[in-house]
Symmetry: C2
Subunit: 430 residues, 2 copies
C-alpha cells in the first residue's frame, strides 16, 4: 500500500473533561514525528465547526500553549453536542455527511481524530464507514473521553480518574467538616455527582474512605441499582446513630424501587432528548429532614467535577496524552476505524507487591458505538450502598499523582489557543 | 502584677474553615514557648464540650499531627453552634456561665482561646467580662475565623482567603468548560456560594477574571445589594449575546428589589433561627430558562467551599497560624478581652512595585461582638453586578500561594488527633 500523505484534523466532542486537551496535545506532539502528516488542523466546536469549515492551524500555536494543554480543562478547540443522526434524521444526516467529505477534500484531510464519548465514537464509526464507501482514503481513529467512564473495552476513560479524584477529595473534605460539627443531634450531607445511567463517578468517591468504615462517604447510591426510599432512610438513621453524621454520595440518575428516577424533572430535555436531572440530592434531603428530622445539606458539584484541573490526576492526564499519541501512531501505520483503548497490566514492583503498567490498544469502533459500560453488580456490596474491594482495586490506581498547573497570582494559568483560522475555500454551509 | 501561671484551653466554634486548625496549631506551638503556660488542653466541640468537661491533652498529640493541622480542614477539636444566649435565654445562660467557670477552676484554666466568628467573639467577650466580675484571673483572647469575612476591624478573616481561592478556581474552571461548549444557542451556569448577609465570598470570585471583562464570572450578585429580577435577566441576555455564555456567581442570601431573599425557604430554620437558604441559584436558573429560553445549569458548592484544603491559600494558612501565635503572646503578656486582628501594610518590593506585609494586632472584643462587616458599596460597580478594582486590590493578596498537604494514594493525608481525654473531676452537667 502506497503511503497516505495529507493533513490531520483533530476535534473534540461532548462534555469536556479535565484532561481532554491532554489527548489533543498527544495528537499534536505525535503528529510532528510523522512525515506523512503535513498540516495539523483543529476543528472548532467538534463536528459542528467542521461542517462550517471552521478549522484552525495548530502548527501556528506557541509551543508553550500546546504543553499547557496537558493541565488545561475544558475543550481548547471548543466542543458541541451536535450529532449526525441517521436514525432519527436521515436526510439532514446524509447532507451533513456530504458536507463533511467536501470539507475533508477541500483541505486534504487524510487523518481524522475525534475525542469523545459514546456518541462521538458512533460519529467516528460512521465517518470511517462513509470514507470506505466513498473510496476516500481517510484514517479515522477515535480517542476515548468521558468522565462517565461508560465506554466499553477500554480499562477506563481519560477524564474519569481526574473526576473521581476531585469528587473523592470533596467527599473527604466535606466529610471531615460535617463530622467535626456533629453533635448528638446528628447531621447529614448529600453530595450529588454526575452519572445519568452509569454510577462510576459516585462509586469513585469510595476511595475517600481509605478502607475505614467510619470514614466518609458512608453511603454511595448508583444509578445502576434500584433503591427503596425507606431502606435509604434506615441506612441514614443507622449511620447517624453510629457516627453522629452521615455523608451520602448520589449519582444524579439514581432510581427508586419502581425504577423511577429520584428527583427528575421530566418537563426539561437536553439536546439529546434525555430528561434533565438535578434533584436527586435535594429530593432525598427533603425525605431525611421530613421523616428523620435530621439536619441535611446538599452539595451539587455540577460542571465543576469535569473541569477541576487544579486537582487532576497525573495518571489520568498521562493516559489521556498517550491515547492521543497512540491514535496518530495507529493512523500513520495505516489503521482506520478503531478507538484507542487504555490497557492495564499488573506487574511486580520493587517492594514485592504489584504496580500497574499502563499502555494502549485498539478496538474496532463497531464494538464501541452506543454500548454503555456499567459498574459490575459484584463490585458493589450486596445491599447496594457501597462499592466493595473489587471496585477499590480498580479505581485506586486511576487517581494517582497530581497534575501541576503553572500558577499565577494564586490561580492556575491555563492555556489559551490563539486559533489562527485556516482560510475557508467552500461556500457557506446550506 | 504577679505572673499568672496555669493551664491553657483552646476551642473552636461555628462553621469550620480550611485553616481554622492552623490557628490552633499556632496556639499550641506558641504555648510551648511560655513557662507561664503549664498544660495545653483542647475543648471538644467548642463551648458545648467544655460545659460537658470534654477536654483533651494536646501535649499528648504527636508532633506530626500538630504540624499537619496547618493543612487539615474542618475543626480538629470539633465544633458547635451552641450559644450562651443571655438575651433570649437568660436563665440557662447564667447556669452555663457558672458551669463554665467550675470547669475552668477544676482544671486551673487561666488562658482561654476561642476561634470563631461573630457569635464566638461575643461568647469570648462575655466570658472575659464574667471573669472580671467573678474576680477569676483568666486571660481570654478571641481568634478570628470565618470564611464569611464579616468580622469588623480585622483586615480579613482566616478562612476567607482559602474559600475565595477555591471558589475563584471553580468559577474559572466551570467558566472555561461552559465557554468551550458555547454554540449560538448560548448557555448559562450559576454558581451558588455561601454568604447569608455579606457577599465577600461571591465577590472574591471576581479574581478569576484577571481583569478581563470577557473572562468568567460575568455577573456576581451580592446579598448587600438589591436586584431587580428583570435587570438580572437583561444582563444575562447581554452577556450571552456578547460571549455566547454567561457565568454568574450568587451569594446564597441575595435579595430582590423588594428586599425579599431570592429562593429562600422560610419554613426551615437553623440553630440560630435564621431561615435556611438553598435556592438562589435554582430560582434564577428557572427564570433564565423560562424567560430567556437559555440552557442553565447550577453548581452549589455548599460545605465544600469551607473545607477545600486541597486548594487552600498559603497566605491564609500563614495568617491563621499567626493569629493563634499572637493570641498566646498577648495572653502571656497579661492581656485579656481582645480579639487578634490581621493587619495589612503595603511596602515597596524589589521590582519598584509594592507588596503586602502581614502582621497582627489586637482589638477589644467589645468592638467586635455581633458587628457585621459588609462589602463596601464603592467596591462594587455602580450597577451592582461586579466588584471593581478596589475590591480586587483588597482580595488578590489573600489567595497567594498554595498549601501543600501530604499526599497518599492520590488524596491528601489530613491530620487526625488522638484526643487523649483529660480526666473529668466534676459531676456531670445538669
Amino acid at each position: 500500500m502506497a503511503e497516505l500523505v495529507g493533513n490531520l484534523l483533530v476535534a473534540q466532542s461532548g462534555g469536556p473533561t479535565s484532561v481532554i486537551n491532554a489527548s489533543v496535545a498527544g495528537v499534536i506532539t505525535e503528529a510532528g514525528k510523522h512525515e506523512c502528516i503535513e498540516e495539523i488542523y483543529g476543528g472548532l466546536n467538534g463536528i459542528l465547526g467542521i461542517l462550517n469549515e471552521d478549522l484552525i492551524d495548530l502548527n501556528d500555536e506557541k509551543d508553550r500553549a500546546i504543553k499547557g494543554m496537558v493541565y488545561t480543562p475544558a475543550a481548547a478547540l471548543g466542543t458541541c453536542r451536535y450529532k449526525i443522526d441517521f436514525k432519527k434524521k436521515p436526510e439532514p444526516a446524509a447532507q451533513d455527511m456530504d458536507r463533511l467529505f467536501e470539507v475533508f477534500k477541500a483541505h486534504n484531510i487524510r487523518f481524522f481524530f475525534y475525542a469523545g464519548g459514546n456518541d462521538s465514537q458512533d460519529t467516528s464509526h460512521k465517518i470511517h464507514e462513509e470514507a470506505v464507501k466513498r473510496g476516500y482514503d481517510l484514517r479515522v481513529i477515535g480517542v476515548p473521553k468521558t468522565i462517565d467512564n461508560d465506554l466499553p473495552h477500554t480499562d477506563s476513560c481519560p477524564g474519569y480518574g481526574s473526576a473521581i479524584k476531585y469528587c473523592a477529595v470533596t467527599a473527604m473534605e466535606v466529610g471531615i467538616d460535617v463530622g467535626s460539627m456533629a453533635t448528638d443531634d446528628g447531621s447529614c450531607c448529600i453530595i450529588e455527582v454526575m452519572g445519568r445511567s452509569a454510577g462510576w463517578i459516585a462509586a469513585g468517591t469510595v476511595l475517600a474512605k481509605r478502607g475505614e468504615p467510619a470514614n466518609p462517604p458512608h453511603l454511595i447510591l448508583l444509578p445502576e441499582i434500584q433503591y427503596n426510599v425507606d431502606a435509604i432512610l434506615a441506612k441514614v438513621k443507622e449511620t447517624v446513630a453510629a457516627y453522629k453524621y452521615c455523608i451520602m454520595v448520589v449519582g444524579e440518575g439514581i432510581r427508586d424501587d419502581k425504577g423511577e428516577e429520584i428527583g427528575v424533572d421530566k418537563t426539561r430535555l437536553d439536546a439529546f432528548g434525555h430528561p434533565v436531572l438535578s434533584g436527586a440530592a435535594e429530593c432525598i434531603a427533603e425525605f431525611i429532614q421530613g421523616k428523620l428530622n435530621t439536619k441535611t445539606r446538599t452539595v451539587k458539584l455540577g460542571y465543576a467535577q469535569r473541569a477541576a484541573a487544579h486537582f487532576a490526576s497525573a495518571i489520568d492526564a498521562k493516559n489521556a496524552f498517550a491515547c492521543g499519541e497512540a491514535a496518530v501512531k495507529a493512523a500513520a501505520e495505516g489503521k482506520s476505524g478503531f478507538m484507542v483503548k487504555i490497557v492495564r497490566e499488573y506487574v511486580p514492583d520493587e517492594k514485592g507487591g504489584q504496580t500497574v503498567k499502563w499502555s494502549t490498544g485498539l478496538q474496532p469502533l463497531a464494538d464501541i458505538a452506543n454500548v454503555e459500560h456499567f459498574v459490575p453488580r459484584d463490585w458493589v456490596s450486596e445491599d447496594g450502598f457501597l462499592p466493595n474491594e473489587k471496585f477499590v482495586e480498580y479505581a485506586r490506581p486511576l487517581i494517582e499523582g497530581e497534575v501541576k498547573p503553572v500558577m499565577e497570582g494564586g490561580l492556575p494559568k491555563y492555556s489559551v489557543l490563539e486559533k489562527s483560522r485556516v482560510e475557508k475555500t467552500l461556500p457557506a454551509r446550506a
